[in-house]
Symmetry: C2
Subunit: 334 residues, 2 copies
C-alpha cells in the first residue's frame, strides 16, 4: 500500500511544473506539444490517477450525482436504476446510489451521506422524504423525482399518468366482456396507488358498471399481497372473472394463489398487471400489463439532470404508459 503517485511526482519526472501537468490533463490549450508529449508519457508509465477529492475540493463540484432509491434491489427500481446508470454513462458523472428503505428517517440519513459528498445533483426515486426537505434540496442543485409527484415541485417530477394507465387496463378487461373485475390496489397513501384505483373506477363508470368495494383489496406492492388478495376473495365467496393488480409483483402472487386453487389463467380468470417488469415476459402465462418504460424513465431522468446542470430550466419530458397485451387475458366465457 505505497503512497499514490501525485501530480508533483509527474511534474518532477517530466521536468515541468505541476501547472503544466494539470493543463495537459485538462486539455487546456496552451501547452507545447513536446512538453505535452513528455507529460503524457510519464503519466502513462506511472499509471497516475488524478485524485478526485482534490479536484472536487478546488473545483467545487464532485462530478457525482446522488440517487436516493428506496430498495436498492427491487425489480421495479432496478430497471429505473439501470436506465439511470446508462443515462450517465460517458458523461463523466458518476451516480452514487443510496437506500432509503421507504423510511423518512433513513432517507434523511441517506441524503446527508450524499450532500456531504458534495453531489452535484440528486435523483429521488419514490420515498417519503418531507416535501420541505425536497424543496430545500431543489435550491441547492438540480433535483429530479421519479415515481413520486409533488405539486409544488412539478417541474422536478417525471410525470406518468397512472390514472390513464389503470383505465387502459380496466377498459381492456371490460372490452373482453368482463363485468366483475377485482382490483388489487397498492398502498393507499401512495399517490400512484390512488391514481390507479381512480383509473379503475373511472373505466368502470365510463362503461356504466357499478363499483363494488368488496372487489378492491389493498395490498403492499409485493407478491404476498397478491396471494392474500385472492385468498381473501375466495374465502368470502366473492366472485370475479378478472383481476387488475396495481403492479406486476402482486399479479405474480395472485397468479400463484389461483394456481393453488386450480383456477386457470386466462381460461377462468383474466389477469392484468402494472409496470411491465422484465420477468413478465416469462411469467406463466406471459402477463398482460400496463407498461411503464422504466429503463427509459431512468435514462430520461439522468439526461434531464445532466442538461439542467448547465441549463437549469430544461423541460422534463412526459412519459407515456401503454398496454401490453400478452397471454394472461382473454374473452370472458359466461
Amino acid at each position: 500500500m505505497s503512497r499514490n503517485v501525485t501530480i508533483k511526482d509527474i511534474a518532477k519526472e517530466a521536468g515541468v511544473s505541476i501547472s503544466t501537468v494539470s493543463r495537459t490533463l485538462n486539455n487546456a490549450p496552451l501547452v507545447t506539444p513536446e512538453k505535452r508529449q513528455r507529460v503524457l508519457e510519464v503519466i502513462g508509465r506511472t499509471g497516475y490517477e488524478p485524485n478526485a477529492s482534490a479536484q472536487g475540493l478546488v473545483r467545487g463540484k464532485s462530478m457525482t450525482i446522488g440517487v436516493l432509491t428506496q430498495d436498492i434491489a427491487s425489480p421495479f427500481y432496478d430497471e429505473i436504476t439501470r436506465g439511470i446508470d446508462a443515462g450517465f454513462s460517458g458523461s463523466g458523472y458518476q451516480p452514487i446510489f443510496v437506500n432509503g428503505h421507504w423510511d423518512a428517517q433513513d432517507e434523511v440519513t441517506a441524503v446527508l451521506a450524499l450532500t456531504r459528498r458534495q453531489v452535484d445533483g440528486l435523483i429521488v426515486l419514490g420515498g417519503r422524504l418531507p416535501e420541505a426537505q425536497l424543496h430545500a434540496l431543489s435550491k441547492r442543485f438540480p433535483l429530479l423525482m421519479v415515481g413520486r409527484f409533488v405539486p409544488e415541485l412539478s417541474h422536478c417530477c417525471l410525470r406518468v399518468d397512472h390514472v390513464h394507465g389503470a383505465r387502459l387496463a380496466t377498459r381492456h378487461l371490460i372490452e373482453l366482456g368482463h363485468r366483475r373485475i377485482a382490483h388489487i390496489a397498492g398502498i393507499s397513501s401512495h399517490k400512484d396507488a390512488a391514481d390507479r384505483l381512480e383509473g379503475y373506477r373511472l373505466a368502470l363508470a365510463e362503461a356504466g358498471l357499478e363499483f363494488h368495494p368488496e372487489l378492491v383489496y389493498e395490498g403492499e406492492f409485493d407478491e404476498p399481497s397478491g396471494i392474500l388478495a385472492v385468498e381473501s376473495w375466495l374465502a368470502q365467496g366473492i366472485h370475479f372473472s378478472a383481476i387488475f393488480a396495481a403492479n406486476d409483483q402482486m399479479a405474480y402472487g395472485a397468479r400463484l394463489a389461483l394456481y393453488r386453487r386450480g383456477i386457470r389463467v386466462p381460461e377462468d380468470v383474466s389477469l392484468v398487471g402494472y409496470d411491465d417488469l422484465p420477468a413478465s415476459h416469462f411469467s406463466l402465462p406471459p402477463l398482460t400489463t400496463v407498461r411503464q418504460p422504466l429503463f427509459e424513465m431512468g435514462e430520461l431522468a439522468a439526461q434531464t439532470l445532466l442538461r439542467r446542470l448547465h441549463t437549469p430550466d430544461s423541460e422534463v419530458p412526459d412519459v407515456a404508459v401503454t398496454l401490453n397485451v400478452r397471454e394472461s387475458t382473454c374473452y370472458h366465457r359466461r
Copy 2:
C-alpha cells in the same frame, strides 16, 4: 445555490478557532463543555455539513467502498448488492456501485472511476477483469471477490462450492427416479458454470448413470437460453424426464417453453434451478433450486472488507449451498 457553510463560518459564529470546531466534530477529547456546546448549537442552527472531499483529501481516505458489479440490475446481483448495502449500513462507509457489463474494457473504466475517487476498498462481483489487474488492486487496498474465483487470490474470494451444489441438485433428481436428466449449462468459460456441469456429471457417475452429451445445452444464464434449450431438445426428439438448469433465470425460460408445448411441471418433467432468486418462491410452480444465500454473501463480503480495513488478514468465511425442495420436482412416473 448559495455558498455552502464551512468550518470557518462555524468558528467565527461560535467565537472559536476552526481547530476547536474540528475537534468537537470529531469527538476529540480536549474541548471545554461550554465551547463544545456553543459549537454544536451553531452547527445545528446552520445545518453545517462537513465537506467529504476535504476530509478525504487530508485524511487520505474517502470512507467509500467501490463495488464493481456486472449488471447493476440483474436479479442475481441484486440480492448480493442489497446484502452489501446492508453490510455497510451504519459503518460510516458508503458503497459506490459501478457497472462493468461483463466487458473487460468497461470494467477497467469503471474501476478507474472508483480508484480516482480514492475508494478505501473494493468488492468485485464476477466479471472479466484481468487477473493481473486484480492482483495490482489487491495491493492497494482490501479487495474481495464474490462470484468469481481466482486461485492466486484465493484469500480474497468468497468461496461457494458449486460442484457440490450441482451434485445436490442432480442427486435429488436421481433419487426421485429420474434417469434422463437434461442440463442447461451456463457459459462454459465461467468457472461457476463449469463447476456446476462437473457436479452434474459427478452425481451421474456416482449413481452409475451414463453421461449423454446431447442432454447438455450451453446457455447464457438468461431466460431466453432456457427457452432455446428446451426447444432444441424437443426439436431433435431428445427425451428427458427432468431438467437441471445452472441458474434460476434459465429455469424460468425452460418452464415457459415446456408450458407452450403442454408439458406439465412437475408431472411430466421435473425442474431444478440454481441460485434461489426471490422470484423462485412465486414461480409456477414454486421452483426447487439450489440456494446460494445471496443476501448473506453480500453482507459477508461487506463485513469482511470492513474488518480487513483494520485487520488485513481476517479470514473470509465459507458459504454453504443447500437444496431447497419446492414444487417443481416429483417422482418420475415410468
